[in-house]
Every structure is written in structure tokens, then in C-alpha cells.
Symmetry: D2
Subunit: 381 residues, 4 copies
Amino acid sequence: MRVDCDAAIIGGGVIGSSIAYHMAKRGKKVILLERERLAGQASSAAAGMLAAQAEMNEAGPLFELARRSRAMFPELAEDLKQLCGIDIGLVQKGMFKIALTSEEETELHRIIDFQCAAGEKAEWMSGEEVRRHEIEVSGDVRGAMFIPDDGQVSAPDLSLAFAKSAASLGAQIREFTEVKSLILEKGNVAGVMTQEDTIYCDRVVVASGFWSGRLLEQAGCKTPIYPVKGECFSVISEVPLIRSTIFSHGCYLVPKKGGRTLIGATMKEHSYDRKVTLEGIATLLERAKRLVPGIVHAEWEKAWAGLRPQTPDGLPYLGEHSKWKGLFIAAGHYRNGILLSPITGKLAADWAEGKEDGKLPMKAFAVERHSDDPIVKAGVK
Amino acid sequence: MRVDCDAAIIGGGVIGSSIAYHMAKRGKKVILLERERLAGQASSAAAGMLAAQAEMNEAGPLFELARRSRAMFPELAEDLKQLCGIDIGLVQKGMFKIALTSEEETELHRIIDFQCAAGEKAEWMSGEEVRRHEIEVSGDVRGAMFIPDDGQVSAPDLSLAFAKSAASLGAQIREFTEVKSLILEKGNVAGVMTQEDTIYCDRVVVASGFWSGRLLEQAGCKTPIYPVKGECFSVISEVPLIRSTIFSHGCYLVPKKGGRTLIGATMKEHSYDRKVTLEGIATLLERAKRLVPGIVHAEWEKAWAGLRPQTPDGLPYLGEHSKWKGLFIAAGHYRNGILLSPITGKLAADWAEGKEDGKLPMKAFAVERHSDDPIVKAGVK
Amino acid sequence: MRVDCDAAIIGGGVIGSSIAYHMAKRGKKVILLERERLAGQASSAAAGMLAAQAEMNEAGPLFELARRSRAMFPELAEDLKQLCGIDIGLVQKGMFKIALTSEEETELHRIIDFQCAAGEKAEWMSGEEVRRHEIEVSGDVRGAMFIPDDGQVSAPDLSLAFAKSAASLGAQIREFTEVKSLILEKGNVAGVMTQEDTIYCDRVVVASGFWSGRLLEQAGCKTPIYPVKGECFSVISEVPLIRSTIFSHGCYLVPKKGGRTLIGATMKEHSYDRKVTLEGIATLLERAKRLVPGIVHAEWEKAWAGLRPQTPDGLPYLGEHSKWKGLFIAAGHYRNGILLSPITGKLAADWAEGKEDGKLPMKAFAVERHSDDPIVKAGVK
Amino acid sequence: MRVDCDAAIIGGGVIGSSIAYHMAKRGKKVILLERERLAGQASSAAAGMLAAQAEMNEAGPLFELARRSRAMFPELAEDLKQLCGIDIGLVQKGMFKIALTSEEETELHRIIDFQCAAGEKAEWMSGEEVRRHEIEVSGDVRGAMFIPDDGQVSAPDLSLAFAKSAASLGAQIREFTEVKSLILEKGNVAGVMTQEDTIYCDRVVVASGFWSGRLLEQAGCKTPIYPVKGECFSVISEVPLIRSTIFSHGCYLVPKKGGRTLIGATMKEHSYDRKVTLEGIATLLERAKRLVPGIVHAEWEKAWAGLRPQTPDGLPYLGEHSKWKGLFIAAGHYRNGILLSPITGKLAADWAEGKEDGKLPMKAFAVERHSDDPIVKAGVK
């Protein structure tokens, strides 16, 4: 069957869903195509941290993008709740980035300095000060960088809220729909072929995370994305163990509603399976105990894993392909997909309207920046 | 072990949890005792309608109670969200009480008159008007009473939010704790015995719904409560099927967040099991199709059942036992447990402070009103 | 990484797993590659009927294949139990193919004649006789063809038992492993490329059901396979509702262990999603009630859906590709994947050894039989 | 409603279900009453070891009972499969009881001697011999007592198979049925009262595990039973990690079908909740790693907990109450409920027929043996 629309978005994770929402909000007729179920992969596995500062140790384009995106959440939360009834669980009670050693302490002071210089809030707190705010934090903690403006959302809720809000604004959502190929004609994208239909449109956005590769190869696009598996688990306690997110090297604890605490996440590069190993749990458990010893008394809830889409330089691919007009890419957000989803959606909606956001250093995210990279040429692994 | 507190509350459903929350809010040291898990029974099975008007066909004490309770929700939703992070899903988009026959139409006009006379909003809408608001409603619908102020919440979320908020205010929550007996001494309640501990307190609230009977018998209390089983199921659609609750004789459809619609509920008196039968699903499905034919295209989600605690006259037992000072009962809320939970919690907190709410006709809910009832004496069945 | 083996099998459903088991049993070093999880699609959704006669209304190659495969089950059940501990739930209590109308009765008599002539057992039973064996069968049932030798297994258990037994015989199982492309060189298959590795082997079997298309296209193979969605549900009763499978036009009931009854299955051609619709349940429920009215008192368990891989002529593709030596196809088993899995595994193990099974009409299943079909050329839909 | 039968059995766990099966097999009309769902508590949480020797460090009545019961399994497995289709997963590949220290080694030699003297098979194997059988076993293992005749079953399957087989033999199963009181008249039991019915029968068996207390108190019966919580988890590997059960102080690993391994179990006395704690998992994980280091690479499946019903002297209560003729007790099987379920069912069926098993030392299990125990009088805790 032939179908016409303004834009086809490939990938029903948090990035594709945000793009569908932002485009639908501007009146575009969009179709969101998802191979399996909405938010079925990394978007649901994520811890939902909005770590615009906690994850950024250097100034640079990613830091700019992250700050811009974080600022969009309060208004977004309202709008999504209004449109589809889903509360995205936005909490802005700050984040502690922990130092356990003097080296870590020194490093945190450096980061605090650069972030303050960049106009963000960040301050050093001694171990005692930290424990005054978070009484369960271990005596081994030397201190922490406290970031009042970093927060968190419920990642599965955010992803679904984008998609369901997009639907309520007129977007069409198609689950269980695999895109077989792009339609590329004379330097333009003209649509996509699915198992069932041919969808004609002059804008196609590939937002399939780690699975973006196959379609992009068809377009001759060198945008290497590889998975970094992350395992997590969650526990429940009667009274919340912690109030703010506790972030450290190799382990974070994120307090969720109703006394849940989420513990993440291992990092296994080039691991394509989504199995939780006993080793993953053992490692996280050991690390979490070192930060918050009392966690052992909490009730076990469940464990899960997801694949983060990583790129050679750690930056997402965001933009139009130079060879195929109308073919956009928004993939490779690695650990920052939840945080960057609002700004990515906004940028894609801009692209669809031919607008450019002059303030952001988009060159760093250019989709063809790895085309001539010898490492990439040689294969990522 | 010996434990002391201000009040022990027996039953971790929506009623007991609301009481714990309201008492904890007033600074009381309370212990909430639940035999299994919080919100494990009727409270989680409920559809969460706040049908203060839709379920009330006559003026009377229940109508008064219901209106007062409904009015408490907006402030409550804010407070619970603040305390424990749980969004109770409060939606106030009104309710349509449907007429399929002329008899039903006549009856609805009568109800509209009495409710308007009582100062509530309720208006007749023709079938066409209904379909203008809810395009999926069947052409067979003659019209409906529209009740703008009735709404709904997420029942499982409300129950948990009460308990978790109580805990954050200092209440102690004990799951998997069965109360073996009340401690009754010289006309006073003095506490309760659990499997593990003896809890001393001069106020005990029995709020175990249909399971309240055994403990109350120990106190010589004739408060017959019997179960009315209700089966439900839910479906999911991309775009919400309906925006407001559709209520009819024998079937209701409640729109939930993210495109879920909940369809309830059968009524099986004196059915003690919580099994969903194929018959239950067939019956609901047939009725739902008559109201909203397009529902057949929605995706099946799941089915479940719960036991509503019913009393001989359909009114809950609310108040102190005359023989045992300090022994309070809050049980038998039947189909209205979610709706009545806020006012019940407030009343119980008043009791604990010796206050009386002068405005409510509490006599109708007196806990001993069935003591001399010949039917009750002869056994409910 | 480079990996070497005797054969790579693509697809961890019941067909691929059976092939892995049969090859491993003959000492081959095989690797089974599954995109997601073992038995995650149609193989787990199947009812597990071994309807070698009930589904075959005509003599022909499929009938031959089915009889041969059915006969393999008893020995297979023993061997799999021994190897991996999984009981495949083989039950051989016969099947009733029901007539509700006189037309259906006439048709069944014809089928009985052809099957008896072919040397199989099949007999006509009047409605009363049927009800003597199966007391819950409706009075509306005119009679049935009784097939003593058709039986059933647990489909999910069979699939897993094949894979786990293969593993215990030395096969390597790789879940979450997508095959990106076949390695085709000078008229030979030389292996496959996965996301992670290059697997070299001179035999590759494509057994991915409906998902086989993409890889086969790479080999220039015209083996159109399209999905026919089937929805099912199951109920539980204390005492089994039926003892033998009840099979009819549009609905079957299969008795499973422990009082479960499985009710299947709708037929939705070219439906690619795996959502259960309310319509699917309503349809099955109506039909099941007509056969076994008492089913309404059973307890609802759950509902699910799967995609059967269908071909233009209803026959699977079984054999080697003429253009690429060593490239074998075993896909398109439609409703008969469970039944045909043993013989398919055996045939594939034969292929790997260069043997031919002289007794089976393999030409009917030739993998290139649709290459010049104008319908196929024009696209299946 | 009034109901008549030969015997009412209270408790739908493995013990009550075995009794129902054994009685039904002898033609008795029995009713099995379960408060919630069949096999919902300890019976489903159990690892299913048949450790007639591995758990018995001394000669004595429990050892006699255990050996007799273990011997019943092979025939039982056949019969249950026949009656209800459920395979109980009986595996008799022996058990290794591990020594990690020289003290443990000495103790195991003593146990081997006593068991061989009692006519059972048990032999010492050095660490190297153990690793020859089980290659994943750690080099830290000094050696083990190998018990060829101990084996295992699937505990949830055994429990359900008993109940479903009983049903197929005519027993009535009533789930969600709480017994409110025993009917005791003139030194005889005359039946039970449930929420719904009065069941008349001259034999009542209380088999509710840790929950047996309340009803027995009504009969003035001092049979103290207290819970010992056990937490477990399971992992999955492609090829089974181990072939035989590995049993040690504080941790056991049981290989289940399809590559599952079950790891148990913590021991928390007087813990009434069924929550899995992070501490429980951490403890088991540490211990399991010491025995089978490679377990860390296995895939996490799930965790659960159950309450074992323990008695002051560690022996179950088995027999008739002297004060109330016809009132039988079969409870308090602690860690041995699965193992002892066949013999317990047989004994109860004997009781119902007035038979006595002359060979077993039943006095040790007498139901009133703790009546005058000062510790019991003072309360178990």
C-alpha cells in the first residue's frame, strides 16, 4: 500500500519518540516506525538520570547540548502529562558525584571549577556534609561534588509519554514494523519501504540507536555505532534510602518513587546480548554497598540489561546526510539518550522546517565526521 | 517483643493506608499492619472511579460522605506526590452515565434532578451530544447524564502513595504481619498481638475490608461483611478510545494514562475466590462492545479480579465500638473504597484525637447498627 | 573474530533448533544463531498439535512429510528428556475433527476415506459417541472424525529441548546474534557475518521462519514467506475439560497438563504485529463455547499471538539452493512447524552429509519453485 | 451450605496435596481446602532436593522416614504423569556433600560410616575425583561425600501434580477457601467451617505448614511451628553448570532442566516476611562462587523466598490428636517437605483407614510431644 506523510521516523525509542512528538507539535504529519514495541530497548533500561553536569568532565559541544536539553524538562513534563496523562517522574533534587579517594577528590575540584566557570552550579561537600543530606552514605566517602540542577526522570515513562503524546497530536505509531529499505532517488530521500507498505515522504529520520547501522549502510553512510551493554537492578525499601542521586565511578544509585532505588550500571563494550549475568549483579552490589552500606537490607526487586549505542568519539550523530537530502540521523546517544532526547527532538523538528539552531556547535555531531577515519574504515572492532 | 505506639492500623489496603497517612500527618506514631503485601487485594483491583455522583441514585448519608471525600482529592494528589513521588493519576474530565433504554433515560432524569437539587452539577446529554464528546460511543446510546465533577485516579497508585507517604512521615509499615488477636482489657483496647510482637497502643483501627470479620468477632462485634467478586480487564490503544469515563448498568469503561482503557466489572455475591472466569470476560466484552463498538480493535492487556467488601445495607462501618473504647472500625466500603478513602482517613484521624465531624451523618455508619438485625443474627447467607 | 565450524544454522525457533540437534547428534560442529531469544516467536506461540491427519485434507507431499515426522516423536521425546531433562509433553490420545453441519460431515467422510486408503487410522463418530468420550462437548456437534494417532506436545518445551539438547551434544548456541550477511563465493556459501564475528563453514541453513526473507534476498533467492497472525488464549480448570484435542473449522481446543486448555487460533493474513486484539479473543471465545459450552466456567489464564510463516502454495521450502552450494533453506512451515520439526531436522542433517531421503517427494518443497511465478515476481501482496 | 465427605484436608501445599492424592487413590471422598492458591508458599519455593541422606547427620526416626519416602518417588513419578500429565522432574544423579575444611572432611567421614552401616550408599571422593565428575567445582573443594541415591524433583511441579492427580481421582479442590474453625464434638472432630460452607466429615487433616497454628490452638493443641525464611535464586546457562546437586554448609546448587541452576538457601529464624533481601542474594552469591566459580558467567533468572515450617525438635508433627478423634496433623516438615511428602501422604491415608505402619518410629512424631515442654509453655520465642 502507498502511504504519504511529511516525515517517517525510524525507531520507537526515546529519541524517535521525542522527534515524533516535536514534529507533531509543529503540525507535521509523521509516522513513527518501530520494529518491535515502543521503548523496548535501551530507552526502558535507562536509569533516567539527567546528568548534564555529572557526566560531563570537560567543556565542549556535548556539555552545551546537555545543558540546553536539561533546561527543557520542566515545561516538557507539564505538556506530556497534559497530552497523554503520563507523569514522567521529573525530580530535581540534585546529584552527588562521590569521591572515595584523594585522586577522585582532586579531579572533582577541577570539574567543579570548569563547571562554575561555565556558569553552572556545582560545589564541593565534605563527607560529613554529604552524610548530613544523605544519612545512609558510607563513612568511607571523602566528599562529593553536589550538583543541584541535575535530576532525573522515569526513563520508560518518558519514552512512552513522547510516543503517546505524539499520537494524541496526530502522529501515527506503527509497532512491529520493520523498515526494509530507504527509498533514495537522485540525491533525495523519497521515503521508506516497510514489510507492508511504501511510505512516501521527503524527510526520513533514522533514530534506531545501535540498530541504525543497517539502513545507514544502504545510504553509504559511515556512522559506526556499537553497543555498550549495561546491567542494572532495583531494590525497594519502606522509606527511601537516598533522596538525591548518588553518582560514582562505576556505580550510581537513583531514588525512584515509592521507595525504589535503582542501581546501575555495568559497562561491557561490544556485548550484543541483553542478558544479566551473575557477575554483573555481584559487581554492582559490591560497589553499591561501598557507597550506601544499608542497601543490603532493602528488598530485591529485579534486574535487567540494555545496550547503549556508542560512537567512536562518544558523540551522537545529529544532522542531515550531505549526499541524500532529507535523510537525517539522530543516533548514538550512548549513556545520554534520556537527557538529550528533548533537544534532539527539537533539533529534528527544526531540520524538518529547514531551520538551524545557531547557538549549538552542530559541527561536532556531523553525521559524516567518521567517513574518512582510518579506524572506522578498518572496522570499529 | 514489646512495641509501643499511638495507634495500630490493621489492613494495608487503601483504607488502612489512608488512615495511616492522615494520622501520621497529625504527628501520631502509627504502625500499619498488613497480612501480605500493601494494596494486594481489592484496592489494587479497583478501577479508581471517583463516582461520587454516578454511583449515588439517592440522597442520603453515603452521598454526603462521597461528596466530601471527592472534594479532598486535588489537594491530596499534590501532597502525596510531594511526599513519596507517586502521581495518583487524578483526572477530572467527568463521567457519562449512559441510558440505553427509555426506562434508563427516565431514571437518569430523576437522578439529575435530585443531584442538582443537592447542589451538584449534572446534566442530560442526548446521544448525539455524547458522541460529539466521545466519538467512539455507539449509536445505540440514547443519551447520558454527564457529571463534570466525577473523575478518577489510579487505584493501585493511590493505595501505595498513602502507605509510602505515611512511611515518609514516620509511620511504620509492616507487611507479612498477621494480627492474631486484639488485646482487650476492662472495656478498652490495649493493643494487638502479631505473630512476632505485642504492640501496645490505646487506639486500634480495623480496616481489613472483607477480612475484618475474624478480629471483630473476637470483640463480640456484629459487623457482617461479605465479598462481592468483581472481574475486570484492560485494553490498550494507540490513541485513547474515550476521554471521560463511560458508566452504565453492568459495565464501565475508564480511560487510563497512555491509551489504556479499563473495563469493569462483574458482580458475583458471596464469591470468595479471585479467579477470572471466561464467563466474566465474555460478559464484560459483550457489554463494552454495546457501548463502544470500536473497542474490539484495541489490544488485549490483562484480566484480574478482586473482592469488594459489602455490608447488609450497603454502607461502610465507620466509628468506635461502644463496648471497647479505642477500638475503631473502618471497613465495608464495597465499590467505594477508593472514593471514600480520603474522608475515611480524615475521620479516623479525628477519632484518634477525640474530635467529631459535626457535619456528617455518622449515625448511619455506626458499627453496631446490625447487632440486633434478625437477618444478621441468622447469618448473612 | 574468526570462527570455524561445520554448519551455521540461522534461527533459534523449533526448526533451527531441531536441525542443530540432529546435526550435533551426528557429530557435526554446529553454531545456532538467534537474533533474540530461543523459541521467542511462532515456536512458543504454537498450540503444539501433531495434526498429521487432522490438518491434511488431501493426499500429497505434505501429508507424506507429516506422517513421517509424527512417527518420530516417541523416540525423540525419550532422547530429549535424557539429554536435557525437558519433558516435551508428548500426549497421544487422539484428536476429534468436529462436524457442526451436514456439509462438514460429508467432507469429513471424504477425508476419512482418503486417509484410510492411505493406510492411516481415522473413523467417524456420531455426536453421541463423541460425547461419550468427551462429556463436555456440545449437543450441537453432529459428529467427528476421530484420529487416534494424532497427538500433541508442548511447543515451547519442544523448541527449548531441541536447543538445549543440541548444546549438551556440543552445539554452540548464540542468542542475541543477528546475521548481517551470508558469505557467498564462487557458487559456494562460505559462512556468515554476524555483528561480532565471521563464521566460516561450508554449510549454512536458513531457518528463520517468516524472517528468512532478507538473507535469502541477498542470495537472489525468491522464496516468498508472509505472516499469518494467530491469536490464542488459555484457561485452567480443576479437572481437564477435555482429554483429546477438539479440532474444528476456525477453532481448536488442546488439553495441556495440569488442567490447562489452550484455545486457538485466529488467522490474519499479512498481519505483521503480534498484538492480541479484543476481537481475536471474542471470536475464539464464541467458537469455543459452541464446541464446549462449559468452558465459560474455566479460569482465564492468558492470551498471546504469533506469526506463522506461510508460502504461496502452503508448502515449506526445504532443500539446497541450486546457485549456492551449501546454502540450505528450511522455512515456511506455516501451521505445521512443530509437527514437521523432527523430519526437517533429520533432512537437514542428511543434507549436511550429502545424503538424500529417497522416499520423500522433495521436489514439491524445492526452494526455487516460485522463482518464475508471476505472482511472486509481482510481489506477494 | 452443608457438604459431606470422608475427609477434609486443610492446606494445599505439597503435604496436603499428597494426602489428598493418597486418600483419593484409595477411594476416599476428600476435599482439599486452600486459603489462597495451590502450592503458593513453601512448596513452590523449595529447591526440590531429595536429600534423604545429605540432610541427615544422625541415625534416628527422621532418617527412617526420609529413606522410606525417597524410595517412593520412582513409582510416584510414573503415576502422577499418567494421571495429570505433569512430569515432576525426578532426577537421580546423586548428590555431593562438600567439605571445604579438614573439620568438614572428618565430619563427612563419620556420616559416611553411619550411613553405610545403616545400609545406604555413600562414599568419600577426593576433590580431584569430584572435579572429574563436575568440572566446574572449585579447586578449594577438599572432597565430598557422594550419595548416589539422593536426587531431586521440581518442587512446584510435584505439588501441583499431587493436587491435579487427586482431582482427576475425584478429590474436590477448593482454592481461596479459608477454614474458619474446626467442628469439635464430644471428643470427635465432625468437620470444618469455611467462609462459605459447613463440611461434615469424621476425619480432618491439618496440613497448613507454618499456618497450622491457629486452627490447632482451637483444639487446644500445643504444636508450636515457627518459620525459618529461606531465600533462593536461579541462573541459566547454555550447558548445565553441574550435573549432580552440590550440597554444602550454607549453600547448595541444584541443576534443573534446560540449563537452570537453583542456588539456595538462607536461614532466617522467626522471619515472617517473604521478601528477598539484597543481603540474602549477596550471601548466597558469595558462597556459590566459592563452590562453583564459573557460576558468575551464568545468566540471572530470578530470586524468591519461602517460609519453612520448623518445630522445636526439628521433627514434623504426624498423627492423630489424642483428645479429638479423627483430627490428624501433618505439619512442620521444615526443609524436608518435598522429600517427606510421599510417605506423609501414605501415612495419612493409612490413618483414614485405621491402619498403622508398624515399621516406622511414629512416636517421635507424636503431635502432643511438646504439650508439657516448658520452653513451649513459655512461648517458642
